[in-house]
């Protein structure tokens, strides 16, 4: 009986911890949808920064046009153009 109680407590603790982590990820990580696929904004920013050689902190996301701009320039990096290459990249 005692063993069963400890097992139950451990399972409860394990499930609640997992649930918390997932919720936190969803709140902190913005996403966008392109061609039916959901992408992480931060991951896309990071990959795009690696591909273009631009500092990721200079890339500003524009949700309406699904593009990034580079601060202080007339840059307009439409994600649609890069997504094929970004999908090949690993961080």
């Amino acid at each position: 009986m005692k063993h069963l109680f400890y097992l139950g407590m451990m399972l409860l603790l394990g499930f609640s911890a997992c649930k918390k982590e997932n919720q936190s990820e969803k709140v902190n990580d913005e996403t966008f949808v392109l061609d039916g696929q959901t992408y992480s904004v931060s991951e896309t920013r990071e990959k795009l920064a690696k591909l273009t050689g631009v500092d990721k902190d200079e890339l500003v996301f524009f949700r309406d046009s699904l593009a990034f701009t580079q601060e202080g320039t007339t840059s307009f990096l439409k994600i649609e153009m890069f997504i094929g290459e970004l999908n090949k990249m690993k961080l």
């Binding site: 690696k50 591909l51 273009t52 050689g53 631009v54 580079q70 202080g72 320039t73 007339t74 840059s75 307009f76 990096l77 153009m81 890069f82 094929g84 290459e85 090949k88 990249m89 690993k90």
Partner: protein, 375 residues
């Protein structure tokens, strides 16, 4: 089968190249994200025509087609400041295979590369000036990517006999020089005055006291005010620039520097108690001799009562103009026509109907009662 589709793809590419000739359409590679990091206005590169030149910096990258990727050896580019078809300045950049490699893997999109140019704008027709990207790359006929091209060499030279492709996106220029409007000329005029007005797109006048003058443009930056008859008053020159700057300049036309003191309103009552006295107060050192009076309505009577004093009477027969029958305006001008310049001073008085108080309204005599009265 694989070779068939490769041929179809290559054929489509060459058809596109043949159509495009000098632009990006259908090319095996082309620039992307041609961006400017120096000031722009409405997407145009800003320059100041009051300065001799402008420094321009920016960046762009190159996109490869999947077809060309295995053969890519490099692309030569040139950012050119072109005026009327002539290259005035250029900055050369070359993209190599390493510019497409991230973590050991080659991608179709290169890193962005920066350029900077210092261009002279002095004496240049900047309306026709453009900043463009030209590019060319080596092609080996053994690759068999473009049917019909059997010669190896630089594209587009070997295909079209022209040294460069031209990127579709280009920048034009906009002058952001925004100087303040300056107006110079006399503040007091007798018959006319000439004014120099710099950096104004439009100049009009506003008659803020009477209708003393008209405005004529006599040159690119010169204007003339011409007095209307012997009218006196203040006219305001109002200048507006194309960039939204404004400037005003008041001009006194035929006006003495003194003041005309007296009531600001009279009632239409020919009663002696309704005679109101006006006095001209001159500035020190100023001379003035009353030679005549001018009134905007003939119904009133004016009598000089001293060197600088006069009385005004409004008869009960005063006819109030529509639409407002309860008040009217009378403008009185006192002139000195004894000198070379006819000068004077004016005052506008409001006329109200007599409300029948006091001794009652006297009948309108129909004309001057006193031979000393009148205009």
């Amino acid at each position: 089968m694989k070779h068939f589709w490769l041929f179809v793809f290559a054929f489509t590419s060459i058809i596109s190249i043949a159509k495009a000739q000098n632009d990006d359409n259908g090319n095996l590679l082309y620039p992307y994200n041609f961006a400017i990091s120096t000031p722009t206005s409405d997407g145009k590169i800003a320059f100041d025509s009051n300065q001799l030149g402008v420094g321009i910096s920016g960046s762009f990258g190159i996109v490869l087609t999947e077809l060309f990727k295995p053969h890519f050896q490099g692309v030569e580019t040139s950012v050119q400041f072109v005026v009327g078809g002539q290259v005035k300045k250029e900055a050369k950049l070359t993209f190599f295979e390493e510019d497409f490699i991230v973590d050991g893997q080659m991608y179709l999109i290169s890193k962005l590369k920066s350029f900077s140019l210092s261009i002279s704008t002095n004496g240049i027709d900047m309306n026709s000036a453009r900043l463009v990207i030209k590019y060319r790359f080596y092609y080996d006929s053994n690759w068999n990517l473009i049917p019909g091209i059997t010669q190896s060499g630089w594209l587009p030279e070997i295909a079209f006999g022209k040294p460069w492709f031209t990127h579709n996106k280009q920048y034009s220029f906009v002058d952001t020089f925004n100087p303040p409007i300056t107006i110079s000329g006399p503040t007091d005029i007798c018959t006319e005055g000439v004014y120099e007005i710099q950096h104004a797109g439009n100049v009009v006048i506003q008659n803020i006291d009477g209708t003393p003058a008209t405005l004529t443009k006599t040159g690119a930056t010169t204007y003339k005010l011409s007095r209307v008859s012997n009218n006196v008053g203040i006219v305001r020159l109002m200048a507006t620039s194309n960039t939204g700057n404004t400037a005003n300049f008041d001009v006194r036309v035929g006006l003495i520097k003194g003041r005309l003191i007296g009531p600001s309103f009279l009632t239409s009552n020919y009663h002696p108690n309704n005679e109101e006295e006006f006095e001209i107060q001159l500035d020190p050192g100023e001379n003035f001799t009353i030679t005549n009076f001018i009134a905007s309505r003939s119904t009133c009577e004016i009598q000089q009562t001293g060197p600088y004093k006069f009385k005004v009477r409004i008869p009960g027969s005063w006819s109030f103009y529509p639409p407002n029958h309860n008040q009217d305006y009378l403008r009185i001008t006192v002139l000195d026509q004894s000198g070379a310049c006819v000068k004077g001073i004016s005052k506008t008085i409001i006329i109200y109907p007599n409300q029948g108080g006091g001794g009652g309204e006297l009948p309108d005599p129909g004309g001057p009662q006193n031979p000393n009265f009148g205009l």
